[in-house]
Each structure stands twice: as structure tokens, then as C-alpha cells.
């Protein structure tokens, strides 16, 4: 994912910069930070013209986090994915199961550790809502996630959730957005939710 910091840029600079980046990639996500709503609206026009998915979130500093998602085309994705069994692990909470919070937190740490030790690895692990704490807060799990990344697992954390909980970036893996999350879910054969 490419990130463009366009805070302080006057229109049309954010749009011109974003257009250049979009043209340089075949598919994927582009995050553009802008400091006013008008710039976000101009980026929305770019998204529409370039047939990209558009998402905007206003963060606590009053900045706009715009994600543009360029998709090389759905038919292509499907044909690639047919042959391989794809699994995605979804971690939507920093606790595993219902019951005592402390126990839940210990269990989720255990789950990630066990995942790391497993021979069969998932294609991706997606963290959202309070699950984002696991990828962004110092804990033993961060090391486990780094190991999983080394093994080729795509570790993704929802950017809006990181913003919401006040994190600048995850300690392991990459930032993602709702479009990538949806795409990962749709192209998965198996979705595992502990």
C-alpha cells in the first residue's frame, strides 16, 4: 500500500499526486492524507473517473484519510484463486471467546502463538476493531506476528481502527482498508474466526 502525505497541499496537488501514483500501479490501495474536505471531494472525483473504490475517514486531528482502491478486475482474481485453497484468519477482538476479559486476552495470545507454530499457515490475518490492539500494542504477540509474516502470511490491520484507538502504525504487518478487507474475504475459501 502506498501512502501520500498531502497535509498542507493546496488543490489540485493531492489529486495530481494521487493520479500519478494510481497510474504507476496495476492494482492495490493508495492512502492519501489531506487536511480539508474539499480536497477529499476532489479525490472522490478522481476515484470515480479512474473506477477506483473510494473511502474517507476523518481522524481525531481533523485530517481526512482517503483510500483509493484500484482493482485490476474481478474476473482475473477469480481465475487465479480457483486452484489454491485460501484461508483468512479474522481477529475482530483482543479477546478470545465470551467470558472473563483477562482469560480472553490470554487465550487470543495463545491462539496466535499456536498459529505461528503450526505447519499449515493462513494466507492472511486481518485485525480490526479491538483486534487492532494485538497488532499495534507491545506484547508477545507482535513477535509471533513478525514470525508469521516471515513465513509469508499477510498481516493486515484496519487503518480506521488504528486511528480510532490512537495508533500511528501497527508494530507488525501492514495497514489496510475496508476495500482490501472485503476483497480478502471474497477471495478466501475459508475464513477462520477464533
Amino acid at each position: 500500500m502506498i501512502e501520500l502525505d498531502c497535509i498542507g497541499d493546496i488543490c489540485p496537488m493531492p489529486v495530481i499526486k494521487a493520479k500519478k501514483e494510481l497510474e504507476s500501479i496495476k492494482e492495490g490501495s493508495l492512502i492519501i492524507m489531506v487536511d480539508n474536505e474539499i480536497a477529499a471531494q476532489n479525490l472522490e472525483k478522481l476515484a470515480k473517473e479512474k473506477a477506483c473504490a473510494y473511502e474517507v475517514l476523518k481522524d481525531r486531528d481533523g485530517f481526512y484519510r482517503v483510500s483509493l482502491h484500484k482493482n485490476a478486475g474481478l474476473p482475473q482474481n477469480i481465475s487465479i484463486d480457483m486452484s489454491k485453497d485460501k484461508s483468512v484468519v479474522v481477529i475482530s477482538s483482543d479477546k478470545m471467546g465470551d467470558g472473563d476479559d483477562k482469560l480472553g486476552q490470554t487465550l487470543i495470545k495463545g491462539f496466535i502463538y499456536a498459529l505461528r507454530e503450526c505447519d499449515k499457515i493462513p494466507d492472511a490475518i486481518v485485525f480490526y476493531n479491538s483486534g487492532a490492539h494485538i497488532a499495534a500494542k507491545e506484547s508477545e504477540s507482535v513477535e509471533d506476528l513478525k514470525k508469521l509474516e516471515e513465513k509469508g502470511v499477510l498481516v493486515l490491520t484496519c487503518g480506521a481502527c488504528l486511528d480510532f484507538y490512537g495508533y500511528k502504525a501497527p508494530l507488525a504487518g501492514k495497514v489496510t482498508n475496508m476495500y482490501e478487507i472485503v476483497e480478502k474475504f471474497l477471495s478466501a475459501d475459508k475464513i477462520i474466526r477464533p
Partner: protein
């Protein structure tokens, strides 16, 4: 408008046009056959060359007198300039450009005021006269009127692209030529016709200013393909040399305008803020052809772009 809300209103029957209406200038009646038209405008440089900037700023300020149906009599300079940081010869060039346009308008430059400021700004306070019966309000359009535009649009897009080194010199020079051109020549011809309403196209863009002209109970129908556009502006809009101001104008007009079938680049042009833009003239349909051709004969790039109809769904409807 909310900033003006706190100013107490004093009624004076001789103030024919004040800031209650969104008009181009104030008009104050002195006698049964004479009223003064007063306006002022100034801004930061829109082009690099100081002499050209002076001409553009003056043409822009003078334009409001013409949009009211008046003639220019006298003008005062409004100047802000960083006296220590910048060569005062630059200021001399700005003033020379401004004076040239005031004289071309048939007016006399009669003084002014300057202050020391971090960035240069220039404009004019202009006084003109009009016969009270000859005042052209913004919103006097009548059903059956045709709308005539006297300068091509797209100036904002060209200036933006020029700052980013993306506009070719021909487009830029065409934009400059249009900004420098006084609306006097269009106004001189217009006055011979039974014009119902007139305004000039500036910061709110073509549709923003047209929106000020359409009275309640009527709709303006604009044909996008008939709107004259400065060469190169369409291609630049397509490359996203678009402005924040155009988007603000579009947001402001959102509820009042329908332009579903107009492509993205043309939408940008229709909301593009203009500097020293042309006149928008609303004239009865039967006179429109004659007025447009007489304007063209006098070197004005006039085009009929739409018409006024009974109200239907939106104040302005743009068709491709």
C-alpha cells in the same frame, strides 16, 4: 452572508441596490435621471508579470460597473505592497497597467491608498453612473429570455495548470487576453437592447453566477456544448488540474443544479472560478440573435448558451 448579519440596516430610499441582494455593485440615486454605481475589488497577483496583473485587476474591478448597466467615471487605486522586500518598480508596473485600463474605460484615475503588507494586492474602487431606469439587476430574467455569455470560461483551470507548468503557452495567453479585456465593449452593444438582467462571471463560476440571475418560478436551461471554453481547459480538467474553489462552488449549488449527463471535465469548467470573466446577459428570445451577432461584429466572443423557462425541478438544468 452571516458576517454581514450583525450590521444594522439603515433604510435610505435612494439606495436602489445595496448588499441585501447578491448584486454586482451598489447603486445610489442622486436625481431622477442619475444614479451613481459604486464598487471595489482587489486581489493578490494571478499572473507573474506586474503590468499584466495591473491590467487584469483593473479590468476585473471595472467590470461590475458594466454588469450594472453603468459607465465608468472615476477610479481610486487600492494597493498593498511589501515596500522593503520588493522592488518598487514592480509596483510602478502594476499601477501603470491599472491606469491603462481605467483610461481605456473612459474613466479618470483620481488617487488611491496604499499600505505596507507582506504580499502585494491591487485593485480599484470605481465610481460610475447609470440612469435609474437603465439599471440592470442580476435577477431580472424573464421567461423566454436567452442567455448570452461574452467570454469563454476555464480561466481558473488554465491559471492553476500554468502554476504547475502544465498549461501550454497558447492557452495561457488566451486566458490572459480574456482577463485583460474590458467588458465595456460588450456593455456598449448590450445597452442598445432590451436586456432584462446582467451579471459578470467571477469567483462563483458560470453556474454560480447564473444561479444569482434566475428568479423564483423560473429555470435556466444551459446547453453545455454551447458554452465557449478556452482552448486547452477541457483537456487540463480531464487531467485533474481542478481547483478547490470549483468544488466549493459545486457544493454551494448542489441542490439547485441538475447536470447528470454532463461529463466530469465539463462540470469542472461550469463551476470554474473566473477572474475578470465575461458578462452573462439575459435578453428576450426575439432579440438574442441580433444582440449576439452585433456583439461578434464588435469583436466580442459572444455565445448563446441557454434560455429561461418556467420552473421545472431545478433552478438550473444543464443538458449535454
Amino acid at each position: 452572508m452571516s458576517v454581514l448579519g450583525g450590521i444594522p440596516k439603515v433604510f435610505d430610499e435612494n439606495l436602489l441596490i445595496g448588499y441585501d441582494s447578491s448584486d454586482d455593485a451598489a447603486v445610489y440615486k442622486l436625481s431622477e435621471d442619475i444614479a451613481v454605481v459604486m464598487t471595489l475589488d482587489f486581489f493578490t497577483p494571478v499572473v507573474e508579470d506586474p503590468y499584466t496583473f495591473g491590467k487584469i485587476a483593473a479590468a476585473n474591478a471595472l467590470s461590475d460597473i458594466y454588469a450594472m448597466g453603468g459607465e465608468v467615471k472615476a477610479a481610486l487605486n487600492i494597493v498593498a505592497f511589501p515596500e522593503k522586500e520588493m522592488d518598487t518598480r514592480i509596483l510602478g508596473e502594476i499601477l501603470r497597467g491599472g491606469a491603462q485600463k481605467v483610461h481605456e474605460a473612459g474613466g479618470v484615475l483620481s488617487g488611491g491608498h496604499s499600505i505596507n503588507d507582506v504580499s502585494p494586492k491591487y485593485g480599484l474602487s470605481v465610481m460610475g453612473v447609470v440612469h435609474p431606469a437603465g439599471i440592470l439587476p442580476n435577477n431580472g430574467c424573464k421567461i423566454g429570455d436567452k442567455i448570452i455569455l461574452t467570454k469563454p470560461v476555464g480561466i481558473g483551470i488554465i491559471l492553476t495548470a500554468h502554476r504547475l507548468d502544465a498549461a501550454d503557452s497558447e492557452s495561457y495567453l488566451e486566458a490572459v487576453k480574456n482577463m485583460e479585456t474590458l467588458n465595456k465593449y460588450a456593455a456598449d452593444v448590450m445597452k442598445k437592447y432590451p436586456v432584462n438582467a446582467c451579471t459578470d462571471v467571477t469567483g462563483f463560476g458560470l453556474l454560480g453566477h447564473l444561479g444569482e440571475m434566475v428568479p423564483k418560478g423560473m429555470s435556466a436551461i444551459v446547453q453545455a456544448s454551447k458554452v465557449p471554453v478556452i482552448q486547452g481547459a477541457y483537456a487540463l480538467a480531464k487531467e485533474f488540474y481542478i481547483t478547490g474553489s470549483a468544488q466549493k462552488n459545486a457544493n454551494f449549488m448542489k441542490e439547485r443544479v441538475r447536470l447528470d449527463n454532463v461529463d466530469f471535465a465539463m462540470k469542472e469548467i461550469l463551476f470554474d472560478p473566473q477572474t475578470s470573466g465575461g458578462l452573462l446577459i439575459s435578453v428576450p428570445g426575439k432579440d438574442a440573435g441580433m444582440l449576439a451577432s452585433e456583439l461578434k461584429d464588435n469583436g466580442v466572443d459572444a455565445h448563446e448558451i441557454g434560455e429561461i423557462m418556467p420552473f421545472k425541478d431545478f433552478d438550473i438544468e444543464v443538458i449535454p
